[in-house]
C-alpha cells in the first residue's frame, strides 16, 4: 500500500524470515541435545557390554594354592567383537605386578577403585582413545588387590553415534524443509479472504458512476475487519466530498447562468444599436470574472486541508497588503479604508494565500455593502493565546436572524436592491476560518456589520 522509495518485502518472504530464524535455532538446540543424549546412550550400552566382558574375566580370577590364577574365557572376548574391528586390550595385575595382558595399558589408581564395582574411564593408549573398564577384587589370602582391566578402541561407539546423529539431522532437515515449503500454500489459503475483499472492491470499478457506499463483504476474519472498517470510513469521507463537490458545481453553474443571460441579451441589444449595452456587457463581464475568482478561491479554501498550513503570517503586514489591493475600489466607492492596530506584530500560523483571500473578501464586502462617505476598518488585537481580526463597516449591517444564512453559499440578502455580488464572499471567509480552526462571528457595529475572526495562536 505504501509508496515508499524502497521495495516492500513480500508477505511470503516476511513469513519465511520470521519462521526460518526460530526454526534454525530450534534445530540447533535439538541437535546439541541429541548429541548429548546419543553420546550418553551409546556410551552406556557399550559400557554394559564392556562391563559384561570385564565381569566374565574377573570371575575366572581365582586363588589356587596361594597363587592367583585365571582362565581367560574366549566368550568374553567374543562379546566385544564387532563390525568395526575395534581393538580389545586387557591387563590383569596383582597390586602393581602384571599377571597377564598388556603391561602398558594405563594402570588405575588402586586406592580410588572400590571392591567388586566396575569403573569406566577414557584414556589414551598407543595413540588411540580407548574406553577402559576396570574392577578391583580382593581374593582370600592374597594381600594385594587384584585389578582386572578390559579396554576397547572407540570405532564402533563413534560410528554408532555418528549414524544416530545423521539420522537426527536428516529428520530435522526434513521437518524444517516441509515447514518452509508449506508456507506458500498456507499463506495463499490464509490470505484468501483478502483476495475476496479485493474482488469486492474491484467489482466497484465496473460501474459507470463510482459507488461509494460501504463495502458489502459478508463475514470477514477478525484480522481484516479493521481494514474493511477503515476502507468504509474512507469511502464515506470520499462520498461526502464528492457530494459536496457535485452540489458546488451545480450551484456554481446555476450561478453562472444569470450573468451569461445578461451577456446574451445585451450583446443582442448592442447588435441592434443600443448605446447602453456596452456598459451593461462590461458590468456583466466583471461580474462573471469576480464570480469565477471567488469560486476558485472557495475551491482552494475547501481543499486547503491538504496544503501545508505552516506559514508564519503577520496579520498587520497582511492587512496592509490587502488595503493596498483594495484602495482603488474604496476610493471609487467613496469609502474610507482604515487599519486600526497596535505595534504588533500579530502573528498567526496558517496558509498565507488563504488568509489573504479571506481578509480581501471581508474588505471587499465592507466596501461593497457600505454608503458613500462611509468607512471600512480592519482592527487587530491580541490577547493571551488569541489574535483577533475584525472588519467593521458603516453599511446596513445584517439582521441577527439572517446572519447564519448570510454565511451560506450563494446567499444574497438584498436581492436586486443591493450591489451586485456573487453571494460567495462570506462563504469563502467561513470555509477558510473553518480550515484554520478560527472562530467567525458576525456582529453589530451600529450601524454596520462587524465581522470578527478569532485565531488561536
Amino acid at each position: 500500500m505504501s509508496g515508499g522509495a524502497g521495495r516492500a518485502i513480500s508477505l511470503r518472504f516476511r513469513l519465511l524470515l520470521a519462521m526460518f530464524g526460530p526454526l534454525a535455532a530450534l534445530a540447533l538446540v535439538l541437535g546439541l541435545l541429541g548429541w548429548v543424549l546419543i553420546s550418553d546412550v551409546v556410551r552406556r550400552t557399550n559400557d554394559r557390554v564392556l562391563g559384561g566382558a570385564l565381569g566374565a574375566i574377573a570371575e575366572t580370577v581365582q586363588v589356587e594354592r596361594g597363587e592367583v590364577t585365571l582362565d581367560l574365557p574366549p566368550a568374553a572376548f567374543g562379546m566385544l567383537e564387532n563390525s568395526e574391528r575395534d581393538n580389545v586390550y586387557y591387563r590383569i595385575a596383582v597390586g602393581n605386578t602384571l599377571l597377564t595382558g598388556y603391561a602398558d595399558l594405563p594402570a588405575p589408581d588402586i586406592s580410588v577403585l572400590s571392591v567388586d564395582e566396575p569403573r569406566f574411564r577414557f584414556a589414551q593408549f598407543r595413540g588411540q582413545r580407548i574406553r577402559i573398564a576396570e574392577i578391583r577384587r580382593n581374593l582370600p589370602r592374597i594381600d594385594a588387590p587384584v585389578v582386572v582391566q578390559v579396554a576397547e578402541t572407540l570405532q564402533n561407539r563413534n560410528s554408532l553415534r555418528d549414524k544416530l546423529m545423521i539420522a537426527l539431522l536428516i529428520g530435522e532437515c526434513v521437518l524444517v524443509g516441509i515447514v518452509l515449503l508449506l508456507i506458500r500454500p498456507a499463506l495463499g489459503w490464509s490470505l484468501r479472504p483478502l483476495s475476496d475483499l479485493r474482488g469486492v472492491i474491484e467489482a466497484r470499478d465496473t460501474r459507470a458512476a463510482p459507488d461509494l457506499s460501504p463495502l458489502r463483504t459478508g463475514p470477514l476474519p477478525t484480522e481484516l475487519r479493521p481494514l474493511s472498517r477503515s476502507f468504509d470510513r474512507l469511502l464515506a469521507r470520499l462520498d461526502d466530498a464528492t457530494t459536496g463537490m457535485r452540489r458546488f458545481t451545480a450551484d456554481a453553474s446555476h450561478q453562472m447562468r444569470t450573468p451569461l443571460s445578461v451577456l446574451k441579451v445585451q450583446v443582442a441589444l448592442a447588435r441592434r444599436g443600443s448605446g447602453e449595452a456596452l456598459h451593461e456587457i462590461e458590468e456583466a463581464t466583471d461580474r462573471l470574472e469576480r464570480l469565477l475568482t471567488q469560486l476558485l478561491t472557495l475551491a482552494r479554501a475547501d481543499e486547503a486541508g491538504v496544503l501545508p498550513p505552516d506559514h508564519e503570517i503577520d496579520l498587520k503586514e497582511l492587512s496592509q497588503h490587502v488595503i493596498s489591493r483594495r484602495i482603488r475600489q474604496a476610493i471609487e466607492a467613496d469609502v474610507e479604508l482604515l487599519l486600526e492596530a497596535g505595534d504588533g506584530p500579530y502573528r498567526i500560523h496558517g496558509h498565507r494565500t488563504l488568509v489573504f483571500e479571506m481578509l480581501s473578501n471581508l474588505v471587499d464586502n465592507a466596501i461593497r455593502y457600505n454608503r458613500p462617505g462611509g468607512m471600512a476598518q480592519i482592527e487587530l488585537s491580541a490577547e493571551a493565546g488569541v489574535v483577533r481580526l475584525a472588519v467593521v463597516d458603516t453599511g446596513p449591517g445584517i439582521p441577527a436572524e439572517l446572519r447564519e444564512m448570510a454565511m451560506s453559499r450563494f446567499a444574497r440578502l438584498q436581492g436586486e436592491r443591493g450591489p451586485p455580488g456573487s453571494g460567495l464572499g462570506l462563504a469563502i471567509v467561513k470555509s477558510t476560518a473553518e480550515r484554520m480552526g478560527a472562530q467567525l462571528e458576525l456582529g453589530d457595529a451600529k450601524p454596520g456589520l462587524r465581522v470578527t475572526v478569532t485565531f488561536t495562536v
Binding site: 444569470t258 443571460s261 441579451v265 441589444l269 441592434r272 458590468e283 456583466a284 436581492g415 436586486e416
Partner: protein, 221 residues
Amino acid sequence: MRILIVEDDAALARGILSLLRAAGHAVDHVAGGEEALSVSATEPYSLVILDVGLPDIDGFQVLARLRARGDQSQVLMLTARDGLDDRVRGLDLGADDYLRKPFEVEELEARVRALGRRRGGDAAPEIAIGAMTVNRSTGRVEVAGRLIELRRREWAVLEALAARAGQIVSRETLQAEVFGFDDPVGSNALEVNVTRLRSKLAPDGPAIRTVRGVGYMLDRS
C-alpha cells in the same frame, strides 16, 4: 402587449426590459414574488415572465398563487436550474412556457410573440382585417400592399385592437395594455396614438371607431 417581468437580477431585468420595449410592448419589472403578486392583481398583464429563483418566495409559489386566484395571464418561466423536474413542475402548475438560462434572445422574443398570439385564442401569426394584414411575429403591417411604418405605441394599440377586431375595447383596458405603469403618460397619450394610427391606416385600411365614454373598436372590414 402588457408584460410583467419578475426577475431579481437587476442587470438581466434591464436587458429583457429594453428588449421587449423595443418590440413595442408595455413592460413592467418587479424583483420579488410578493411584489409580483400584488402588482398583477391590479394590472391586466397579458404575459408574466417569471424567474424561478426569487429572493422571497420562489417562482413556483408565485405561479401557484396566481393560478389559484384565477389569473389567466400567460406565464413564461425562466430558470437557471437544469432539472427536468423543474420544467415538469412549472408546466403542471400552469405555466404556458418555459425557458432555461442562458437563453437565446431570438428564442425569448419568439416565445413571447407566440404566447401573445395564443392570448386571443388565435395562434396564427397573421391577422387579416379588410385590406390590412398584421403580422404579429414580424410586426409588419400592410394596407393594400402598402407597408405602414408604426411607432411602438401605435403598434401596441393596433395589436391590442386587432386581436379583438369587431369588439369594443375599453379605454382602461387599452390604456393598461399599451402603457407600463412607469411609462410617462400624458392624459391624452392614448388619444394621440389612436389619432396617429387612424391617419396612417387611412384611406383604405379599417377604421378605428371611438365609442364615446366606453372605448375603441377596430372595424372588421
